[in-house]
């Protein structure tokens, strides 16, 4: 399968990656200025100019989140897209991942040779919670807020697996310490201790304050190109070994919120493309979308890194630490920076940084293959890619 794919699809290389320093509020720049900053850094990393870009693919959070309905229209000149194709992708919180996959497909299909892809969010100028709870007539208002939507599923996971109540705090403490090694992360909590995480207020029991993601402004961009583009690149490329998206309804009879079928199917598809049969052994680093700390053990099972019911044991035993044998969120993850519309792309980009050996202080030594994961909506959209240090089939 993989050799046939190698001859029919153009291999896709990530040769440029740029992020803003994610913060609570970027009042010094417009939205155009924010995305531009990430895009410029990606171009600089690839040593390319705007003229070298053939098409632009952009993603952002749902429109009501920040009131920008047509980013493709508003941002065309800021993104050098005049006279070029400019597409917008829209899949709720997973959008950063699916946006990168649309860009990768354009290169793989040889529609374009070099594509700029980016995603952004300015949470400071909007209100995501408001955007999620419009006062729809005749419907009962949501009684809980964003964390309240997810917390019951965390309790269901704990009941199903018998996971001890401390696991969530271990994830939060790990990710926030990893973030200290990532200059782009929003939260740099130098004085944080495990005891402080465990003593932080219970917001939506069983989810504590320190186990929830922050609200951030930020953008992320990548330059994707073909084999010829990768040969010209000044720094090592990351190669796309597999990419997949899956969707399912928000609510339906039989929906498993703890381990959604669409997530399992998406992971199976991406591993099949990458020729991976044992992800726990064959993947060196994972950047997964963990907005509430308990989602790490839940996704470890959903993504096939642990058997059902066993995910929390990987977390508890230190396997997912930066120096463990399956580091999860070496960047600090969504728990340390959450510009929602960009968060999925940041996962994809951080996975690529790892296999390029460009992750700096949070580099996993010798990482050759990494998984980037994003999800969104009511756990209904999933997008993932596996990236490697070697060209596929090499």
């Amino acid at each position: 399968m993989s050799s046939a794919a190698g001859t029919t699809k153009e291999p896709v290389a990530i040769v440029g990656i740029g992020q803003t320093r994610h913060v609570a509020a970027r009042r010094d720049v417009s939205i155009a200025g924010l995305v531009r900053e990430a895009a410029q850094r990606a171009l600089q990393d690839a040593e390319l100019t705007w003229q070298d870009i053939d098409a632009v693919v952009i993603g952002k959070a749902p429109d009501f989140f920040e009131g920008v309905m047509m980013p493709e229209l508003y941002l065309a000149d800021a993104l050098g897209a005049v006279g070029k194709p400019l597409l917008r992708v829209h899949t709720a919180g997973s959008v950063g991942g699916s946006t990168a996959l649309v860009a990768a497909d354009l290169v793989a299909a040889r529609v374009h040779r070099t594509v700029l892809t980016l995603a952004f969010e300015k949470q400071s100028e909007s209100n995501a919670m408001w955007g999620l709870s419009l006062p729809v007539p005749f419907q009962q208002p949501l009684l809980a807020g964003a964390g309240g939507f997810f917390a019951p599923h965390v309790r269901a996971y704990m009941r199903r697996t018998g996971a001890p109540a401390t696991v969530g705090s271990l994830v939060a403490y790990k990710d926030r310490r990893n973030a200290l090694k990532n200059p782009y992360a929003h939260l740099h909590e130098h004085d944080l201790t495990l005891e402080k995480v465990q003593a932080s207020p219970m917001l939506w029991d069983p989810v504590r304050y320190s186990e929830t993601c922050p609200s951030s402004d930020g953008a992320c961009a990548m330059v994707l190109t073909d084999r010829a583009g990768a040969r010209r690149a000044p720094r090592p490329a990351a190669w796309v070994h597999g990419g997949a998206m899956r969707s399912e309804p928000t609510l339906f009879a039989g929906k498993d919120f703890v381990s959604p079928q669409a997530g399992k199917d998406c992971a199976a598809a991406v591993y099949r493309q990458a020729g991976i049969t044992d992800p726990r052994r064959e993947i060196d680093a994972v950047e997964m979308y963990v907005p509430f700390s308990w989602y790490e053990p839940m996704w470890l099972e959903n993504l096939g890194f642990a058997a059902p019911g066993e995910g929390w044991k990987l977390t508890e035993s230190g396997v997912t630490e930066l120096d463990g044998d399956l580091p999860v969120n070496p960047s600090g993850g969504v728990l340390s920076a959450n510009p929602i519309g960009a968060s999925g792309m940041i996962r994809f980009a951080e996975a690529a940084l790892q296999v390029r050996g460009q992750a700096g202080e949070h580099q996993v030594p010798g990482a050759r293959r990494a998984l980037g994961h994003a999800y969104g909506g009511g756990s209904q959209f999933f997008s993932m890619w596996v990236v490697g240090a070697d060209a596929p089939g090499a």
Binding site: G33, E125, P141, L142, A144, G148, R159, L251, A253
Partner: protein, 320 residues
């Protein structure tokens, strides 16, 4: 078609979506809007020498950052227009007006605004107009109240400008409002009509036999219409829950309270509701509950324990 037990009139109601979004302006828009406050119209010069009004941050041709600001005239020429005979809420004028594109003297592009004119016969492409400034200016496009007809020739060339002003405007609030008419559809209308009689009625999928509450008129898994109505509940089982400790702005509920997923007897997926009548820290998965109604309320106010023994985990774990 299977007869349904009395199809009530489909409901509809207004849905207003309104939010005051904020915007950080960045250097170019900040200069432009602060300039309007000071009765100064600024454009930006591109690499090919054109002056764009309103200004942009990035050159539409070269994609490079552009920052060379220039002051243009407050008089200009209408390039095209459309008559608006019936102004709507929040439009710049409350009397009939023309939407106009105005190329200000010294600018190479046209600005969208409105022209105060007696009627469509008084407007033509090529006519000369001038800015009518708002009496109170805050640093917004509405600092130009409108344009008005003007007898006079074209003014001078654009003049370079630093864009620097005292007390610059760096951010604005841009209220957005959308007016929808929301129609929940026949299935939900039937559901609400039954709720008015304090009965909960779902719909069964003819293919997978699952009972949906609330019904959506179609099964999201099988993609077929649901027709058969099935009364469920009133009792149910708490499948999972969380304890809410932070007060939501729009809710008048004292914290802490329990927000639970409840599988009503006979339903194949859980609905969400508050649990009362029991201390919050004694709520548990498997708790058997029953709705508590309050007069005048469309939905149960909350659910309270029935007093029965808890449901066995295996009996509801497929609904968690």
């Amino acid at each position: 078609m299977t007869p349904t037990s009395g199809t009530p009139e489909a409901l509809s109601a207004p849905l207003v979506v309104e939010f005051p979004f904020t915007r950080s302006l960045g250097p170019v828009q900040s200069a432009f809007l602060t300039g309007l406050r000071e009765r100064t119209v600024l454009g930006v010069r591109t690499a090919d020498g054109r002056v764009l009004v309103p200004p942009v941050e990035y050159d539409p041709v070269t994609a490079e950052e552009i920052r060379d600001l220039a002051e243009v005239g407050t008089t200009g020429t209408v390039t095209t227009w459309a008559w608006n005979p019936a102004p709507r809420r929040d439009q710049p004028l409350d009397t009939p007006f023309a939407w106009v594109l105005v190329r200000l003297d010294g600018a190479d592009t046209a600005l969208l605004h409105v022209l105060d004119a007696a009627g469509p016969d008084a407007v033509r492409a090529g006519m000369r107009v001038r800015v009518r400034w708002a009496r109170e200016r805050t640093g917004a496009i509405t600092d130009i109240a409108c344009f008005e007809p003007y007898e006079g020739g074209e003014a001078s060339e654009p003049v370079p400008h630093t864009g620097e002003f005292a007390d610059p405007v760096t951010g604005i609030t841009t209220p957005a409002r959308l007016d929808y008419t929301y129609a929940p559809g026949r299935a939900q209308s039937r559901y609400l009509a039954a709720l008015a009689e304090r009965r909960t009625v779902g719909e069964r999928c003819p293919s997978c036999r699952k009972v949906y509450v609330p019904p959506r008129g179609a099964c999201p898994t099988c993609g077929v219409a649901t027709r058969d109505q099935v009364e469920v509940g009133p009792d149910g089982t708490v499948t999972t829950f969380c304890i809410v400790n932070i007060k939501a702005k729009n809710l008048d509920i004292e914290v802490p309270y329990v927000y639970a997923h409840i599988a009503l007897d006979g339903a194949d997926l859980a609905l969400h509701a508050r649990i009362g009548g029991i201390p919050y820290d004694q709520v548990r998965m498997g708790l058997r509950v029953r709705p508590v109604w309050r007069d005048g309320s469309r939905f149960p106010d909350h659910y309270r324990p029935t007093g029965e023994p808890d449901a066995d985990y295996d009996s509801y774990k497929g609904l968690v």
